[in-house]
Point group: C2
Chain length 315, copies 2
């Protein structure tokens, strides 16, 4: 494979790496919540439970590629990997800014950490509070947007919706050559222009290009009680990660602890017509996760179980 | 093996379990500092780097057996496992007191954790500040004493010296039977009494008993610059764990960062005439730990390398 093609493939990836998908009580089967969304080589760290650093090392994911961290809520199983991560980045010589997004309480944790451990840190650590009651744009770059998803848990909690921006269509090189179109016009054509030949024939834009890949999207919803109204926000996402802490027989317990059952997560996935569902944040009491999977699949067949080390190519 | 004998063996163990022996910068080879000293089934947790919980699970060490935690200093690689551990103990239904000993700064960390995460914790969490400049008794129970060891690092740091209390001699059951000594006198004889038979013959204490095992001891010294004067405090301990962050070629770096080289750790072990030396807290830059070991052994042959999962029977 040529270097160009390899770069092309790497440059377009949009994949989810599961570092941990257990819940608060540790088990030998799972690490606490943490994952990395790899968008064309840029890593977005989503939640950061204890041990996330170690999992990154095991999965060969360099923390130098992380620019932004998105934290759902200030419960230990979603944040206790942050203190170590921040220090390690400094030890590794980081100079680039690190941006942390999350509910106000995460800012207080960062304040404590900086005051106590990291007064001399050599890179800028920036906190961006997220309003957990609103669905709004909180981050944007050349390739994606990130919106908040209001969740409901025992403390303020928020999910995140990552959407690729629509891409320009691909130029059909053989048509460009056939019509002798100058290089200077390529961007115009990508942007929608047609081409008029010297004899006045108009070659429509559609003949000169092939459509871009459909923009991909990913929604992270954990921790939260079942919220049917989320379907409007996450309508049609390519992949939905939703917590499924309990089997449905424990629906009352889920309601009380502000968590979701597998059936509920799958119902939301079905109602929102998402492409695929990945369930996680499993209670340590669940010994048979396949039962949880079967339960979800009975409502939404295209469901997978999260698992440490799992990489999902979102497409 | 009879239940009685099994109990007897368990009841007398004095063993060190290494959970982590790396330094601040993570590597794929090591976890940050944490270890459990198992004294007759009571676990003393010494330092608690990130991931200590997971290591305990891997080694089959139940955190329910931990009553006291001893923290050397408030650097992340020695404490970032505490936040999760405290929460997990609550989730596991702990009701017994948990005592944490350490420099004043550890109290501030605990205050923050309780205020932020654990206001509703259901077991008493008690902090005991340790004066890092003094060598004094800080804990005592039926079987051991723990003394502080003043260390010197970039921030206040303290080591810990665990000493078994002298045990009473063993009764020689066949002698008791031969002289028809009543059960009520056993404790007196253990405590040093002789026995006078009906005809007035004095059977000396030494004939009725066999000597108790020599009390065992363990010293933990990490993190610290090389302090030759520690030899008086740790004189003759059965096992010394000492940090050896660097090879001796980096002695200047060790001095600057207030750490110790392998040669220095071994020199202290030799000068203090300890039984055995275990070195740890390896810099992530060290690729060949055997070189570090050879360096230490050139001064003090009975040296071993710490390693995650290593269990040392201290005798």
């Amino acid at each position: 494979m040529g270097r160009g093609l390899l770069y092309f493939i790497l440059a377009l990836n949009f994949e989810l790496n599961i570092l941990g998908c257990g819940s608060a009580k540790p088990s030998t089967r799972h690490q606490p919540s943490a994952q990395i969304l790899n968008v064309r080589g840029k890593y977005f760290l989503i939640d950061c439970g204890e041990g996330a650093q170690t999992q990154m090392q095991l999965m060969g994911l360099s923390m130098a590629n992380i620019g932004h961290v998105f934290i759902s809520h200030n419960h230990g199983d979603h944040v206790f990997g942050l203190p170590g991560l921040i220090g390690t980045m400094d030890l590794l010589g980081r100079t680039a800014e690190l941006h942390v997004h999350g509910p106000q309480q995460i800012g207080e944790l960062l304040d404590f950490l900086v005051r106590t451990y990291y007064a001399d840190i050599r890179y800028p650590l920036l906190f961006h509070p997220v309003d957990t009651r609103r669905h709004e744009l909180i981050y944007e770059d050349r390739s994606i947007t990130v919106h908040s998803i209001p969740l409901e848990h025992r403390i303020p909690s928020v999910g995140y919706l990552f959407r690729e921006k629509p891409r320009l269509p691909h130029i059909r090189r053989e048509m460009i050559e056939a019509y002798g179109i100058p290089f200077s016009q390529i961007n115009n054509i990508k942007a929608g222009a047609s081409w008029t030949t010297e004899d006045g024939t108009v070659i429509p834009h559609e003949r000169l290009t092939s459509p871009a890949m459909k923009p991909r999207s990913y929604a992270y919803c954990s921790d939260t009680v079942y919220l049917p109204e989320l379907k409007d926000i996450i309508e049609g996402v390519t992949l939905l990660y939703h917590e499924a802490t309990y089997m449905h027989e424990r629906a009352l317990r889920a309601e009380q602890t502000r968590h979701t059952t597998a059936i509920q997560a799958a119902t939301l996935a079905r109602d929102a017509r998402v492409g695929r569902l990945c369930i996680g944040h499993f209670s340590a009491a669940i010994k048979d996760e396949d039962a949880l999977l079967r339960e979800a699949q009975s409502v939404f067949p295209d469901t997978v179980l999260a698992k440490e080390g799992l990489v999902i190519d979102i497409k």
